[in-house]
Symmetry: C2
Subunit: 157 residues, 2 copies
């Protein structure tokens, strides 16, 4: 895919997140894109992202679902407002709740694919559902309730 | 506290987890202990564990709750069997489901405290509820359904 990722549109001040901030050099720097009505993200776990050897650490799975979902929420909110992601004012979402069902052990070899659907957009809230696959098999499912960033997390003022 | 942490009893082969494995040099290496009927864990986020500057990344919070809960599940299962944590066979739990409610932005300065209660022990399943605090204020609540490690994740055979 050649288009910009959702996270590439985050203003610099909001691009520090360990999971998805392009400016966090220690972080995961995930990238999310639209694929029609779904959003997708591919991530290759590092060898040390292990639970027991051979399988992915559940906290990484939760982190990927979390950040991909808040990115999807922002992108969906721009779409709902018929705005481009580089238009003002910027939209950024944080997580109100995260739920993950771990369906089977997730092999650590190769890329994980996250594929999400927007279940609901209502006011400042967006609900995103995600399936995380490895080798074409769904290993975890997640649901995130994302809310537009609260005033007490807006900084740089 | 001078006693051994739950994670110090994990057999070497199960001590590779990014969140709680004492042998994962890249990982968080969390340590959990009993405090009466509750389990506790203290963790100081690193400066790059940020969501937006000043606040903790939600994926870290999910990861801490996840690993502290599976450690608590194992410790609770030993207790229920009236066994020491260094007795054979070893018990290790993985996460079937994880739920986190983010109640307020979590400040990144200082230590986070996790305090958990075992809600249920039934067969191979243990349900653990956790409150995560910063500066004495509860910032997130979590619930983990942990299950004894399935045969297809047991390795080194």
């Amino acid at each position: 895919m050649t288009q910009e990722a959702f996270q590439d549109y985050y203003p610099d001040a909001w691009a520090q997140c360990y999971g998805c901030g392009r400016l966090n050099e220690h972080g995961l720097q995930i990238k999310s894109y639209w694929d029609g009505e779904e959003s997708v993200c591919s991530f290759v776990p590092r060898p040390y992202h292990t639970a027991v050897p051979g399988f992915v650490y559940g906290g990484l799975i939760a982190s990927l679902i979390d950040c991909h979902s808040t990115g999807t929420a922002a992108a969906a909110a721009y779409r709902a407002q018929e705005r481009e992601q580089d238009s003002e004012p910027p939209l950024r979402f944080v997580t109100a709740s995260l739920h993950v069902d771990y369906l089977r052990p997730t092999p650590i070899e190769g890329a994980l694919e996250l594929r999400s659907q927007v279940k609901e957009i209502k006011g400042r809230k967006v609900v995103v559902q995600t399936a995380l696959s490895a080798g074409g098999e769904i290993c975890a499912r997640g649901e995130v309730v994302a809310v537009q960033i609260p005033e007490n997390m807006v900084f740089g003022e």
